[in-house]
């Protein structure tokens, strides 16, 4: 046996320990952050982030009613009066009436399909002279022509892009003509931007390309932030044309709305119309399906807004942005978004790691989450959309992970403590026993006070004591699930092959002081190997206990047996464990706990158990099962 040189091992151990410590601290955080970033990048978090945006926007305080825009609504009641489709004459009368009050711009948000004769130039002939009139068309998905005759710069499209969850959050301001996509002369503008442009032209504010982003639209010095495929929480969204995120005007009645019939009966204040942007549209839900919106809605009971009002929100956003510096919804670039997630998440994780007690950690995370929400709300109010959902996810996930790891650590520590106790105990035993004896022997030898035979017996005793310590250590290192406790504190390692366990149990049990064992002369035993892979530790334990119990039964109840045998034979995949004795008594008095074990075991093994007397005297107790039958059980 070579001596162990511990000093060689220490430096390597320390280095490994340090690396492991660092890993155990940093790795969980990195993993969670990495997972969340990947989830976001692959679009899994988009739905949640859009939902969060809606909630943040919705929670903003109400704003005053927009002072630039007036809506003329044509509802069911009006349609009943004027007829459907709407006769050209009604439109002509309406436009003429409105123009007499000197509005700034009129937008006729009536698609050709609503008018009774869209292809005729009647409308244009009668109201075409008004240069502040804009009519509408539809360009994408379906093509609906504007009323005939109007020049291109008095036509705006009303196409919109809905998000994947079918809600409207952004507006298309301009797009190339799908019929002639490469012709820059054919670039089309939406109704909203046409109206805003016309209104602002009167104040000498012109529409041009953005200074910072040449593809964006800019009015005067105010650039409208262009929507990109990965703006904010969007991942690979459709950013065709020029789009902006819609910053709805908050409030129950953001726009003054006058029904058509009130205009006709002059039931309104002329000041309501003077110098405004007037938008005329249908608000009957059956004729014009409202557009799904979540932040504000005007139809009263479903989350949707009338089309004409959506146009109003857009015009209002543009005008208020240019004239009153009302913020649009801005976003950081993609890289900054991810950086923010990593930094904010990382800070939260570090804060969590620094705090020691679990309660404190919850408080810290709670505080961080709340301040994140507050920060996001504040940011939205000043027009900045920062990602919040990913960080809200990172921190609780991290906490959960840390909890699991900590639990495992505690378990491990407990095992280590147990082992340490055993080591301590062993040291004490060595110190108090063999070591003392050894010192004794040395002293006696020095005093020449020791005979050779005495020395021999002392050394033998020492040998024994040290060996016992070795046995003790070996036993203690077995875990309880894997051990079977037998007589005289013998522990069996259940991971040993079953037939070997049987051997040990046979010997151990027959050593015990049961009355009927005393007459035994022939103790025969043989056990074929068993295919262990189909037996769980629990079943092995039960088999061992079964054998033990069967032998004990002989020891208790057989009358003066001289022969006992325990044979385990494996024939063609069928294993038979048979315990036989030649005692005169019968073992029928064992219906109590005894047979329960046997029957239960037989059921578990899908085998059979019998205990019957032999005609030549004695009893046989037999358990058999088919090994292959167990292989369907996966363990």
């Amino acid at each position: 046996m070579k001596l162990v040189h511990l000093s060689n091992l220490i430096p390597k151990r320390q280095l490994r320990h340090r690396v492991v410590t660092w890993c155990s601290h940093a790795l969980p955080g990195l993993v969670i952050t990495g997972l969340v970033v990947i989830a976001r990048f692959s679009g899994l978090l988009q739905g949640l982030e859009l939902f969060a945006l809606d909630l943040l926007l919705k929670a903003r305080p109400a704003e005053s009613q927009d002072e630039y825009i007036v809506l003329i609504s044509i509802d069911r009641q009006d349609l009943n009066q004027i007829g459907n489709p709407i006769p050209n004459q009604e439109i002509i009368n309406l436009v003429n009436t409105l123009q007499s009050y000197q509005p700034s711009v009129i937008g006729l948000n009536l698609l050709g399909s609503l008018l009774s004769d869209p292809s005729s130039k009647t409308l244009f002939n009668r109201v075409g002279r008004y240069k502040n009139l804009v009519v509408v068309e539809k360009l994408l998905s379906e093509r609906i022509h504007p009323p005939a005759g109007f020049p291109l710069d008095q036509v705006g499209f009303t196409d919109i892009y809905l998000d994947g969850d079918n809600y409207l959050r952004r507006m298309l301001l301009g797009t190339s003509n799908p019929a002639q996509p490469d012709n820059p002369e054919e670039f089309r503008f939406s109704l909203a931007i046409r109206l805003a442009e016309l209104y602002l032209k009167q104040q000498n504010i012109v529409l041009k390309n953005g200074d910072r982003d040449p593809l964006a639209m800019q009015l005067g010095t105010t650039e409208l932030p262009r929507f990109l495929p990965n703006s904010g929480g969007y991942v690979n969204a459709n950013a065709n044309g020029v789009q902006i995120l819609l910053n709805f005007r908050m409030g129950r009645q953001p726009f003054r709305t006058i029904p058509l019939r009130d205009i006709k009966s002059k039931r309104f204040d002329p000041e309501w119309l003077r110098g405004r942007v007037i938008i005329i549209g249908v608000t009957d839900n059956n004729l014009r399906t409202p557009i799904p919106t979540r932040v504000t809605y005007s139809t009263g009971f479903t989350e949707s807004t009338h089309g004409v009002e959506v146009q109003a929100h857009t015009v209002s956003q543009i005008l208020n942005s240019v004239l009153n510096q009302r913020p649009n919804i801005n976003t950081w670039s993609e890289d900054w978004n991810y950086l923010w997630i990593v930094i904010a998440g990382g800070t939260g994780i570090i804060a969590c790691q620094i705090t020691q007690s679990f309660k404190q950690k919850i408080i810290v995370i709670g505080v961080i989450q709340i301040s994140l929400l507050a920060l996001s709300y504040f940011a939205i109010n000043v027009g900045l959309w920062i990602p919040v959902i990913p960080i809200l996810l990172i921190l609780p996930l991290y906490l959960g992970l840390e909890l699991i790891l900590r639990y495992k650590l505690i378990e491990k520590q407990r095992t280590i403590n147990q082992r340490q106790q055993i080591i301590n105990h062993t040291f004490d035993v060595i110190h108090n026993g063999p070591l003392q004896n050894l010192n004794n022997v040395i002293r006696q030898l020095r005093d020449r006070n020791l005979t050779e035979s005495k020395l021999l017996s002392e050394l033998e005793e020492l040998n024994n004591e040290i060996r016992l310590i070795g046995d003790y250590l070996k036993q203690e290192s077995l875990s309880p699930e894997k051990t079977l406790y037998l007589h005289k504190n013998l522990r069996l390692d259940l991971t040993l092959p079953t037939h070997k366990l049987f051997f040990m149990i046979f010997t151990n049990t027959l050593e015990r002081d049961f009355p009927e064992f005393r007459t035994l002369k022939q103790k025969v035993r043989h056990f074929d190997p068993i295919d262990d892979q189909y037996l769980s530790l629990e079943v092995k334990r039960e088999l061992c206990l079964f054998l033990e119990e069967a032998l004990i039964n002989v020891g208790k109840h057989a009358e003066e047996p001289t022969y006992i045998s325990a044979i385990g034979s494996n024939t063609k995949g069928c294993y038979t464990l048979r315990i036989t004795d030649n005692g005169k008594g019968t073992c029928l008095s064992t219906q109590g706990n005894g047979s329960e074990l046997a029957n239960r075991l037989a059921a578990q093994l899908k085998g059979t158990f019998i205990r019957i007397p032999l005609k030549e005297g004695g009893t046989v107790c037999q358990l058999d099962w088919i090994e292959k039958a167990l292989s369907s059980k996966s363990k």
Binding site: M1, K2, V4, E460, N463, R467, G470, D471, L496, H499, K500, F503, M504, F506, T507, L510, E511, L520, K521, Q522, K523, V524, R525, H526, F527, T562, S565, I567
Partner: protein
């Protein structure tokens, strides 16, 4: 006597494994004195031993249980046990002598030891030299000596085959060949069964020689004493 197939001459070949140099040297010296004509090889770890058995084809392998697997590793009883198991599996008729201070560890291998078809003896390292030599000699000749392993166990446990042999030999008085036929095994196997029975009953060839006793008749006497033969 159990014949061992010797490859060429009648040279006695012994293979010893022990990692402790002093002990190894001492053992080899003692063995050489006892068997002056023997060729004795040694191995220092279990891996080398397995290779040596293959090449050297010894008549007896003497094993210390506490050895390393390769030089430089710790010496562990588990390694010796593993080695023993491998040897018994691959060379079922090899004569084996186990020398160890940790005899109890062999208890796990009892089934294999009982089924082994070569000589097998066990000696505790603390025994005097002459006892150790006697046991080595026992194994060399194909007999069994596992008394040290059964120290502390009361009563005699036997395999069903051995009981059958006893009955056939002493109640029906059959010869070895007849017993072999009846039990459908080879005569050699019957002789191995007898060597195991001798061991169980505490009958050792050397003692018999010294006391002028016939082992087979001793067996009958002892078996009746122990109640194995009614």
């Amino acid at each position: 006597m159990i014949n061992q197939d010797l490859p060429d001459s009648q040279t006695l070949k012994i293979l010893v494994v022990d990692d402790h140099e002093l002990f190894l040297d001492g053992t080899i010296k003692v063995l050489q004195t006892q068997y002056p004509n023997a060729v004795i090889e040694s191995a220092r770890n279990s891996r080398k031993l397995l290779a040596a058995v293959q090449q050297f084809k010894p008549k007896l392998v003497l094993i210390d249980l506490s050895i390393p697997e390769i030089t430089g590793e710790f010496a562990r009883t588990e390694t010796g046990l593993q080695l023993l198991q491998t040897l018994m599996q691959n060379y079922p008729t090899m004569n084996l002598a186990i020398l160890s201070s940790n005899i109890k560890a062999l208890k796990q291998l009892r089934p294999e030891i009982e089924a082994h078809q070569g000589g097998f003896s066990i000696a505790d390292k603390s025994l005097p030299n002459k006892d150790v030599l006697a046991r080595i000699d026992c194994a060399m000749n194909g007999f069994t000596h596992t008394k040290d392993l059964r120290n502390g166990t009361t009563g005699i446990e036997i395999k069903p085959e051995w009981l059958t042999v006893l009955n056939l030999a002493y109640r029906e008085g059959l010869s070895d060949r007849a017993i072999a036929q009846r039990m459908n095994v080879s005569e050699r196997t019957v002789r191995i069964y007898f060597s195991r029975i001798y061991d169980i009953l505490g009958i050792y060839p050397e003692d018999c020689r010294r006391n002028g006793q016939n082992p087979r008749i001793q067996t009958e006497i002892r078996a009746r004493e122990e109640g194995l033969l009614p």
